[in-house]
Chain length 221, copies 2
């Protein structure tokens, strides 16, 4: 299965499948049909069959998917069967929120370090993890095999810090700074651009307003 190439579009959808299957599992559901799953998830059953058959027939016709098996297999594809070591750069509100999010730990993401430049908080801890000075980051990277760095720092500083992390062997950057990082293709990247998400929301409101106004116009005629 690991020999198959999985398209970016399917990768994007997998975490959502994983979340739904996890919920089913914790509700002791053993089997589910693509039809049932499609109703819950609000996507078509054929989309589900197409996505899941990508990985080589978890489902059996007329019998449905084995929830636990599918959950575990998707977990493997997502790389959740191995531990990922995570550091957080920037111990502001977002950084602390990430550190406090115990769900990450459950899914195999171990936060092993938090770094900041603010002397007032260096030496304090979040959920038992000490906040260290940025000046010891290079040594920390040498001493620990860090997989993922979450960047929760201002956009002005993010490109340089990312470049340093790449130099020191980081494998993936989870970027919360509102800027695009130009990383080599060997380093994975995911961006969480909150301002852009908020703007999309505002755009949707505007679009709905316009639609509503048009319908009112029609009613008048």
């Amino acid at each position: 299965m690991s020999d198959r190439k999985i398209s970016i579009a399917v990768i994007k959808r997998l975490p959502r499948y994983y979340r739904y299957l996890g919920e089913l599992l914790s509700n002791d559901v053993v089997r589910i049909s693509s039809k049932e799953l499609s109703e819950r998830m609000g996507v078509t059953a054929s989309q589900i069959r197409q996505d899941l058959n990508n990985f080589g027939g978890f489902g059996q016709q007329g019998y449905g998917y084995n929830v636990e098996y599918l959950y575990n297999e998707i977990g493997k594809i997502l790389g959740l069967d191995k531990k990922n070591k995570v550091i957080i750069i920037g111990a502001g509100n977002v950084g602390q929120a990430l550190a406090n999010y115990s769900d990450f730990q459950k899914r195999g993401f171990d936060i092993i370090g938090i770094f900041d430049v603010n002397p007032a908080i260096i030496g304090t801890s979040v959920r038992g993890i000490e906040i260290r000075s940025m000046s010891v980051l290079e040594q920390f990277m040498k001493d620990n095999k860090v997989d993922i760095a979450a960047l929760t720092i201002p956009k002005e500083k993010a490109p340089q810090v990312a470049a340093d992390l790449v130099k020191w062997g980081i494998r993936a950057v989870w970027n919360f700074a509102p800027t695009d990082l130009h990383l080599p293709p060997t380093v994975a990247q995911e961006n969480v651009h909150l301002a852009e998400s908020l703007m999309r929301l505002s755009c949707k409101i505007k679009t709905m307003d316009e639609k509503m106004n048009k319908e009112k116009e029609k009613d008048k005629k």
Copy 2:
């Protein structure tokens, strides 16, 4: 221009254009060609022309785009020319991070209320905004024309709170809870699912590992 239908795919890309144009503007760039913009943004020039021509020819052949004009026009399409009133439900780390993010204010998103159930923090303030009890939320919704509610509460509570907000007239929900909300089509919705973003990152690491291993295998042969 507001008569044109804008596809979901273009809406998704607009905030990124807006961000880049804002940066150009603050660097006093007056004009930019689709070629230059494409190099900065890492998308093809033809994609840029196609996207921006959607809204009716901001660009002139051989002359480029007027940065300020384009910035303002995209801002209007995104609904940023009017103020949006925002409330935050849940004053945990993520809620406080949103409240502290002054960039939102600059773009016309006014945070007018923060709500929580924790008596220990009700009555305290974040950036001058009082944290109120959830018990006064209904009255607050009656007294204020709230556009957007950011939900930064546990997933178990999110569906009920969202349903209440819809009943009380909310126009858009910015959902940070790791669950899908089933809202009526008249209410806009954006989800920020951090765990899913982190899993996509882990999946990308795994995919890169497999690619690297295969290349090593090849080298051996």
